[in-house]
Amino acid sequence: MLVGAKNFANSLTWMIGGAQGSGVDSAANIFSRACFQGGLHIFGNREYYSNIKGEHSYFAVRVSEDPIRSHLDDINILVSFDAETIFRHADKVTSGGAIIYDSDLSSTTLQEVPTIDEPAAKRIRELLEKSENPITVNGMVNFAKNNGAVLYDIPYFGILKQFSVEINEPALSKLTRMINVMALSASMAILGFDKEILAKAIKVIFKAKPKIADGNVLAANYAYEYVKSRFDLSQSQFKLSCKPQSADIILVQGNQSSAMGKLVAGCRFQTYYPITPASDDSEFLESNQIVEQTDGKKGSMVVVQTEDEIAAITMAIGGALTGVRSGTATSGPGFSLMAEALGWAGMNEVPLVVSLYQRAGPSTGLPTRHEQADLRFAIHAGHGEFPRIVFASGDIEESFYDSVKAFNFAERYQMPVIHMLDKLIANSVMTCKYFDQSRVAIDRGKLLQILPPSVEVGAAGHYLRFKFEESPVSSRIPLGTENGIFWNSGDEHTEEGHITEDPFIRNKMMDKRLSKLDLALEEISDEDKAVSYGQLDPSLALTVIGWGSTKGAILDALDELALEGKRVHFVQVRLMNPFPTALLERMLFNTKILVDIEMNYSSQLGSLVNQYLHRDSEYRIVKYNGRPMSTSEIYNALMSIINGNAPRRIVLEHGT
């Protein structure tokens, strides 16, 4: 069992929970920001219901001195100000860990918390009955105490009352909105965190509302001092000490990184229909639609909220036809609606980027939860056969650079590119290396902005948009270009773009379009196809294969395994279509035990490996309960494989 083997100083998991809308997010953002400003690395992950107010949400932040990329199952510091958080999470607090809770809620019974659904209530009841504890908050914290957790009972209301007298603000209701920050600050006192840095972080998070920021700083200080004076903190096992943060580290929200990449890529038109977790991408772009340019001019992006996803993709295609880099962002239900138009873009060789933020399906599934189950769908969406590139980012940092690459691929090969992202990436926040714009290149492929009047023409005297020549990629001009009239049609078409049903032209056009995938496979660099981490240990001969956002938890688990002398090789596939068969064959050459790890039921990447490499995975680790894989889960699963006592298919089930 992994209990943080990589247990360096300043390393812990902190979690805050509460009803949606009660300030859980802002408290977690302040905590993340404070740790970041205190020179630490963080990885934070937000979990929430498809609900606006009232249901339980929580935000777990892992802190470390070294870069980290994922979360653990265990909690070291649990911060709460409601009963539900205690009921749902207190049993996961480690020995020596801390629980902060509202002492006024001690006698609250499980039954009194209506938002705990029956299946969860049943599990909690059984846990408490078995351990002979009362079915109350008190019972639950007692359970945790018996596990070794240290309890910090805080009478929030009483403190608020004292605080209101102190700051001369009789309107208590105004102050209750700051309970979240007080709870957070209580945890900071326990951790011995620098109060000044905390205050600075609060000001950053409430930058837009200086008055609110000031009030929260006062409240934070008050709670901080209260905890310091009331409890003996010398015993507490977990401490966070600050140092200056290095200038090349940034704190990035995953719903903004790909969007920032789009800005740099020169995407100037984005369309969308609201859907979790994709809309943040578009909203970020709309908030930042005016862009700075190195030539001193101001660029700008037009962002349109459309009536549905069909309009989103078709409008984006219309934009792309004018030579503008155009994209749309969506999630599973929206992508389903886009299928027909995706084929139109493939048929008419239109460069288009669809950012597909996967969430748990099918149908509306678990609308706010995580899954990687749209891989096969992304590869096959649409009727008939047409080329498309499917490209998957593994984390926040990759998603920035990959957005630019997605546009480059789209223009170079004149086809739609589906950029695979997901809920975990979108709703996590982490410290990354400063994004290096100088590493980015723009490749517009065969886009011509002007055509000479003497341009070579077809029999009818027209520019040939779909010219048959040596390369399957033809030159492309924006609508409105002089001397260059062309047509497009979703029907099979001639080189000019007019409808044809000629069987010979049909064959040539199919060959032209689909052979662009061979070209892409030839030209796309190995690092964009698949990345190999570590080396195969010949005695173990075990390789983990995965794609997308499981990368972080896999790499962190591998680090932990390495500490125990187990060297495991990892291959992260990035280019999902066309499939990089030859490269993977090389990478997996001496692998005897292939372990496929994915957040879906049917091991979709595993099935692709099987299809293209004619090779089964010896083990398949899957998860489909909507909660992302943790380092702990992957570590434990791999350990059982190494020890030879694992089933061929391991279903991970952790999560609240």
Partner: protein, 322 residues
């Protein structure tokens, strides 16, 4: 050199049925482009799927034959990225008011400066004559096994309440009137909708050319045949909203006229309102240089293929010392 009608024609074989009303609409579009002297490369025809959808291939300008029902979304995307284009969207009544009705309504809300011409033949031509949303309740064209069980939608009224700012109706056999109507629609600042009555001799044996001409519509006194269509402008009707005070009155008048059918079918300009800002104007309020610097004009890379966009300021806000 002045552009001639012939310049707007392609040599693509036209496979519409003999006598199809689509021919007249095609000619009218080409004539209005010539009248307005719009250079071929400055016009883009976006078309829906259907018999009418083939129109794009017969016009010598950029032609984008899109998906069934989606033509307006494609067209708006292009126009917003390159406002210099003259964008004409064309398509059938099935595409426009059946599968694409949501886009029709939403396009009205945006008021992008372009033209949408709907070929109204009351049937789904290319799929062999099923009832289109414009076919009246209880009508049984020869292509239908049973009388139409759905009520029809009123395209003019729907365009009005959706927010189209120019609404007109033409008739495919009155090409001269139609081409002038198209020219007015092109010149209108905002989204223009033209409902064009288009006989489909193959499947719609009710609303035929003869029916519109009124061969069965005799004046009881004179014994003379009376055409069913009449021109709004010849009755002193004025659909222009001159100032915003008039809006309610003018809208009511549009609904009233749009309900006329049977022996009196109005053609011409029902409505024109230039007091509603276009979508381009709405963008300009947020992106001040949008008109001079729309997406299609912006370069995004330098001569070394480096990006010219810099997000350094944005990235700096994500640093700890910020």
């Amino acid at each position: 050199m002045a552009l001639k009608l012939a310049d707007y024609k392609t040599n693509v074989h036209n496979d519409w049925c003999p006598g199809c009303g689509d021919f007249g609409i095609l000619s009218a579009i080409q004539m209005s482009l010539a009248d307005l002297q719009i250079p071929m490369h400055k016009a883009t025809i976006f078309s829906d799927i259907g018999c009418s959808g083939k129109t794009a291939h017969f016009i010598h300008s950029y032609g984008i034959h899109t998906l069934h029902g989606r033509v307006l979304a494609f067209a708006q995307g292009a126009k917003l990225c390159n406002p210099e284009l003259n964008v004409l969207a064309v398509g059938g009544d099935g595409g426009g008011l059946g599968i694409g009705a949501g886009h029709f309504v939403s396009a009205g809300r945006r008021n992008v400066d372009m033209v949408y011409i709907m070929f109204n033949n009351a049937v789904y031509g290319l799929t062999k004559g099923q009832a289109a949303p414009t076919l009246k309740l209880g009508m049984k064209t020869k292509s239908l096994p049973q009388p139409n069980v759905n009520n029809s939608v009123n395209p003019i009224a729907l365009a009005l309440v959706s927010g189209f700012t120019f609404i007109g109706r033409g008739y495919s056999y009155d090409v001269k009137h139609l081409k002038d109507l198209i020219a007015k629609a092109v010149q209108h600042k905002g989204l223009a909708f033209l409902d064009v009555l288009q006989p489909c001799p193959t499947y719609n044996d009710i609303n035929t050319k003869e029916w519109f001409q009124g061969v069965d519509n005799m004046n009881a006194e004179t014994g003379k045949q009376m055409p069913r269509t009449y021109k709004l402008e010849e009755t002193g009707y004025d659909g222009v909203v001159h100032d915003e005070e008039e809006l309610n009155g003018k809208m009511g008048q549009v609904i009233e006229r749009s309900n006329e059918w049977g022996s009196k079918i109005p053609l011409g300009v029902f409505y024109k309102n230039e007091h509603i800002p276009t979508y381009q104007e709405r963008i300009t309020s947020k992106i001040h240089n949008y008109a001079e610097w729309p997406p299609s004009r912006q370069s995004i890379a330098d001569e070394n293929n480096g990006p010219i966009t810099t997000i350094q300021k944005l990235l700096d806000t994500l640093r700890a010392d910020n």
